[in-house]
Amino acid sequence: MLQDRAKYSIAGILVATFLGYSCFLYADLPVKDQAGLQAGDKGKMIWQQYNCGACHQVYGLGGYLGPDLTNSYSKRGPAYIQAFLANGTNIMPNYHLTETEIKELTEYLRNLDASGISDPRTFTIQNNGFINQ
């Protein structure tokens, strides 16, 4: 049987490390430059309001009914994206988005595209099982 003192010590060390790691991460977010993101931020709120993530993925996370949209802006261009947003498809409803909403969503997708590449083919695999892009 493990003594209570040993249990408290192990739990205490783990909790302190977890809190330290969390605080460190909050202070050391991966991307420091947040300038010029206001328009993309409005688009992101619209993305959430219409729950686009139920069907679409961003960096492979989200729904599976529609395609991953991380790099749709550079692959398809704004006109193509806006045509889908304005009309819907046989699966995606037409949400009757306003012109402003369409512009802001497109801006969000532009920002998203600029944030990185989600295509798994761009990763190289190392001998230790790790991956690099």
């Binding site: 309001q49 139920a54 961003v58 998203l112 099982g129 991956i131």
Partner: protein, 448 residues
């Protein structure tokens, strides 16, 4: 464990009953969602997929949370030999959860969103959930009394309660522009919270299953053993630090991915333990297999093994790069939510509804087999669909997305049919339990 509390306060039963209603809702919306995969545009006008998916996911998550809460409040009374510290707090907690869940479901039907994965509803509806959870923490601590010389399941319950509160609050850091404005920063914190949150509700459920195993075997020693606490600390270590395996392909800090990779590999110890103790498990299984709650826990053990294999594989970045964003991830999510969490919760419900260890009727046994065989087919269909999608993702000349989805359609058909029979199997188990409970109630005035 004190069995002198023959009639624990009945209020935890409200959580379980509401949880069971939500499980039924979750299964209905799961089937509708499956139909929308094979019949594109099905119910598009009134209940399109962006509504169906959160209705399904939230109903199932609240089934897990409510039933785990009800189970803990019942078992903690049995364990401590004391009644719940404050029935009033429990009632307020139930009211706060209940009103939030009803409003959340109404918002989904109305197409009112604003949140994100798991919690897609307008964020302010999380406030009563946080308040209710704080009451849960206070009531639990006051009922337990002291943490001195407590078995492992008390530690697991407390861990689950505290970490759910922390990670749930953390998952709302996005409301602050500092965290939200950059997509990479936002997703890093989002999946940090979600990865740990899943671990926290697992602690709630696994704690109750550890308690139930002790109750069935009549042996409390295992809950105090060094091995039990070693496994608990491995689980806690993973809850805290393995979350990065959700975001290996996100251009976040390299150290986040390296830490998660290393920590996730400690789950090999859990896998090794299952294999090492396989023979002993079989001996125990032969002894208690006639009990319906034990049967369900044994099924969960098999699903733990299968999903642990899958999880460890997916935690290796070199494998994850293939499986990420495919239905292999869905197979893992469904395998753990249904195969492990739901089987364990049904075992707990079975224990609580029957009041005494029940053998279950023919319906219960048939339902058990229908549910588990269906789940295996369901799980395999998703894995195969995922492997085909992975091949598509890695192809140098990929077909259009719609053509790839068309190729996966036969597997979605299998997924839909097996999902429907899986729901039927679960309903058979529940029907059998309720039938028994009504019978017992009418004769002995006993109910949860």
């Amino acid at each position: 464990m004190d069995s002198s509390i023959s009639k624990p306060a009945p209020y935890p039963a409200y959580f379980i009953r509401f949880g069971l209603v939500l499980l039924a809702f979750g299964m209905v919306f799961g089937i509708i969602g499956g139909l929308q995969y094979v019949l594109p545009g099905f119910l598009k006008g009134i209940l399109s997929f962006e509504k169906t998916r959160p209705l399904h996911v939230s109903a199932v998550l609240f089934w897990i949370i409510l039933t785990a809460t009800g189970g803990i409040f019942t078992y903690v009374q049995e364990h401590s030999g004391r009644k719940i510290h404050s029935v009033l707090l429990l009632k307020i907690q139930f009211f706060l959860f209940g009103i939030s869940i009803v409003l959340i479901m109404a918002c989904y039907f109305a197409g009112m969103f604003g949140g994100r994965e798991y919690w897609e509803y307008p964020p302010y509806l999380s406030i009563p959930i946080v308040l209710g959870w704080l009451l849960f923490l206070v009531n639990f601590l006051r009922t337990v009394g002291s943490l001195k010389k407590q078995p492992v399941y008390i530690w697991m319950w407390l861990t689950g309660i505290i970490f759910f509160l922390f990670t749930f609050a953390e998952s709302y850091l996005w409301v602050l522009p500092y965290f939200r404005k950059n997509i990479i920063n936002d997703m890093t914190i989002q999946w940090k919270s979600y990865g740990s949150m899943v671990g926290s509700w697992n602690q709630l459920i696994y704690g109750s299953s550890a308690y139930l195993m002790c109750k069935i075997s009549g042996d409390q020693r295992t809950a105090f053993s060094k091995k039990a606490f070693a496994l608990y600390f491995i689980g806690l270590f993973n809850l805290m630090f393995n979350w990065g395996h959700h975001i290996y392909t996100l251009p976040t800090h390299v150290y986040v991915r390296q830490i998660s990779y290393a920590v996730s590999m400690t789950e090999l110890l859990l896998l090794g333990r299952i294999i090492w103790e396989w023979k002993q498990s079989l001996t125990t299984a032969q002894k208690f297999l006639h009990l319906s709650s034990y049967r369900l826990m044994l099924a969960a053990d098999v699903w733990i093994f299968l999903n642990l294999l899958l999880a460890i594989g997916m935690s290796v970045p070199a494998i994850n790069v293939y499986t990420h964003g495919t239905h292999v991830t869905v197979a893992h999510a469904m395998g753990t939510t249904i195969g492990i969490n739901t089987m364990l919760l049904l075992a707990i419900v079975s224990d609580l509804l029957a009041q005494k260890q029940s053998q279950g009727g023919r319906n219960s046994k048939n339902g058990f087999w229908v549910a588990n065989i269906s789940l295996l087919v369901f799980w395999l269909s998703l894995i195969i669909a995922g492997i085909l999608k992975a091949r598509w993702q890695m192809s140098n000349n990929p077909l259009p997305f719609s053509s790839m989805i068309q190729q996966l359609r036969p597997f979605f058909m299998v997924f839909l049919v097996s999902g429907t029979t899986l729901a039927a199997g679960i309903l058979m188990i529940l029907f059998s339990l309720f039938k028994k409970n009504i019978h017992v109630t009418s004769n002995q005035d006993i109910q949860i």
